[in-house]
Amino acid sequence: MDLKTLTYIVVGASFALYFGIAIWARAGSTKEFYVAGGGVHPVANGMATAADWMSAASFISMAGLISFLGYGGSVFLMGWTGGFVILAMLLAPYLRKYGKFTVPEFIGDRFYSRGARIVAVICLIICSVTYVIGQMKGVGVAFSRFLEVSYEVGLLIGMVIVFFYAVLGGMKGITYTQIAQYCILILAYTIPAMFISLNLTGNILPQLGLGSTLVGTDVFLLDRLDQVVTELGFSEYTTTSRGSTLNMFVYTLSLMIGTAGLPHVIIRFFTVPKVKDARSSAGWALVFISILYTTAPAVAGMARLNLINTIQPEQGENLVYEDRPQWFKNWEKTGLLGFEDKNNDGAIQYSADPAVNEMVKIDQDIMVLANPEIAELPNWVIALVAAGGLAAALSTAAGLLLAISSAISHDLLKGVIAPDISEKQELMASRIAMAVAIAGAGYLGYNPPDFAAGTVALAFGLAASSIFPALMMGIFSKTITKEGAIAGMIAGITVTLLYVFQHLGIMFVAGTEFLGSMPKNWFLGIEPNAFGAVGALVNFIVAILVSRVTAAPPAEVQEMVEQIRVPTGVSDAHAH
């Protein structure tokens, strides 16, 4: 059977599964729509959280990113996993105890202010919308690449599928589809990685393979990799850091607290029955995420070595272009690999020196996408990688869309504009909000704004500087006032946005940056994407200072903080 037919069958089967789940898991109440009825098993929620969390970028791009950054890429590995430790210990159990439906709802209640709730809704929408644009682009790209349809058709298919299970099932439908999506994406990621590790090192576990010797030699894989990249003029793989030590530190911290503050991740912990389930569920989520995140650096190192070995089988001996392997030809067609014979010798020179280098294009995504072909795996594995990439993009998009639609129907409509609507009307409103959110996200995916490339990093900066500090202070302090919280959120988000815009352009429009994206202009050498932690610090300081000079929170709010610190009585707090 040819690859295209096989891909259609595997991807089609995965879609049929999602549709089946959607019909089975219809939501009948707002509680089912917002938090899947609050009865999801902690292990199941851990799996759904993992799929919710791992996006098309994690699946397709992260290993490639690390592949070219080496040690410097560790900020993503530590940042995007370490955040779950913070979430597990500092946020998830308390927010679960509080026991309502959305993140702005908590902020509004704790800071006894509709204004605080609205500011939180705005922060949530900015950060989720910027994030979802990246996902919709990922959906379009994944479909067009794997199914060989146009980007627009791919985007439309993705929207229809998400529409079906998210509008029908809300959080309940999303949860159970995410579980299925996790299983597909993790198999699709680990199977090729295991074969590549086996081929190179004889060890089937990529996590161990990366630290092993190459088959038939006494040379460690990483030592060999360091040697070949330095021979080509690149800096050493295992020691090259990303900017200064301070930049690595702040970047990692920003990604960690940004992760802990992302609303679409937090609301997943509202779906488990008890406080202790929220604690253990975060652990399970981290287990399921770690399987991919510890495999990724192995894929990164091994794919880089494979690529170099293909182009330069022995030192000084270059691959003759006419003899290039089939996978090289396949990916050249997509534009992800590009060769230009600068010295007309018919062979490929790969070098860090741009004047000599003839591999004019090596897209980072190639490191995951071409893996099964490089390892000469059967076609069904390639088809599985297609289904995995789509699962990763769809699951994250659905989670984000739920966070956006519940903020609109529950926080804005029910909470502020029309508090008197019945549950049935609210459920209808949340379905409409979801449909509108999907259409809006699809529009933005179809006409990506100029700033699309910077969006995911921006979302982390905003979550880190606005939502995370407000939640932390809401739980661990009884003295932060509504004025303090609102001023803190606004200050945090403003500082972060200003820093990003002054270096990368206002709304990322080229030419509007007034300080230029030059490392010498960076504050203490911190790159713009890493600035969320500084914004968070500003948020904390402003909130604490303002709270000192404003009237203390009322007694019932202090009592509410006492209550969320006690794990018992969740079901009582749940009555709405």
């Binding site: 996993t81 295992t238 911290l253 253990s280 770690s290």
Partner: protein, 88 residues
Amino acid sequence: MAFQSEADAKSYWKENISLVIKLMVVWFVVSFGCGILFVDALNNISIGGYKLGFWFAQQGAIYVFVVLTFVYSALMGKLDRKYGVDDV
């Protein structure tokens, strides 16, 4: 509230905070410490083909994170039972 007394509530919260601080110290040491601040020094040591600092940054810190969250979950469960605030 399910606590026997106000004093119980206070000491439960105090023990909770001290547990979280201890675990967060470990969290900090394995990632920011071993993976970033002291990475060069640790890279002089090797385990298998991994330089130790590099291993912490790309593998070890993540394994410790997983263990930390389960340790937290287990010890908090124990603390809940000690004060009679476990939700069964």
